[in-house]
Symmetry: C2
Subunit: 142 residues, 2 copies
């Protein structure tokens, strides 16, 4: 059973952090759907069932989930941080439409390989790629 719950719990134990109810609730909410999210949306979602989990705790938990390798900070739209979970998902890149705001997720393996090779030339060790582009989607082009 090597699921996200186990990974998080292992991470917490390894770092002498406690396995608390809010942390489990937040983790579950993060993996309850598979799209990008921001803290505000997450708070709304959680708050329907668990009125006692505070924004502060959500903000405090994001770095833990990142450190555990379960989510990444993926985009920033109008001054708000966005996250997406990465555990259970392939690496991908984002094509963001400037008009309608829709996000296409595309396979990134080839681009990442090229990027890795490039980094090698600078003796740079990549731990996290961030690849994306803005433009116009099919529908918005006409």
């Amino acid at each position: 059973m090597q699921d996200h719950v186990k990974i998080f719990e292992d991470y917490l134990k390894k770092h002498n952090l406690k396995l608390t109810r809010p942390r489990h609730v937040i983790l579950a909410a993060v993996f309850a759907n598979h799209s990008h999210f921001d803290v505000d949306a997450l708070y709304d979602q959680i708050h329907q069932k668990y009125t006692d989990v505070s924004r502060a705790t959500i903000y405090r938990t994001m770095p833990l989930l990142i450190e555990a390798g379960l989510i990444k900070r993926s985009l920033r739209s109008q001054a708000r941080d966005h996250y997406e979970h990465i555990f259970g998902h392939k690496h991908h890149l984002h094509l963001i439409c400037n008009k309608c705001g829709s996000i296409i997720e595309a396979e990134s393996a080839a681009v990442e390989t090229l990027l890795q090779n490039l980094a090698k030339r600078y003796n740079f060790t990549i731990t996290e790629c961030n690849i994306g582009a803005r433009g116009l989607c099919e529908k918005c082009r006409e």
Copy 2:
């Protein structure tokens, strides 16, 4: 004489915006050095000679310079927007060291081409690429 000043002035005229002193001062400061900058650093730099140019005007001018194709919003470090000018510079990508914070600028043409081809498959028209990676630089790896 197709320099950045001319480009900016043409942009302003074309959009019925006025060629003001603060806008010229800000443009000059942006191109006075060739590194990344944030509004705060820019303000400090400008404020030494031109004490009457306000932060508000600098913030208001950034989108104009972006629209004119002279700068781009390039990175965000700890909640602060960073910019770099792009006129007169080749496209490049950023390798950011997580330890020392240094930024390596690397040639991005090959990666961008690949990204363009990928986008084509989704009928997506790219106007702006954003490619980068985090990790450890040569010095910080030991």
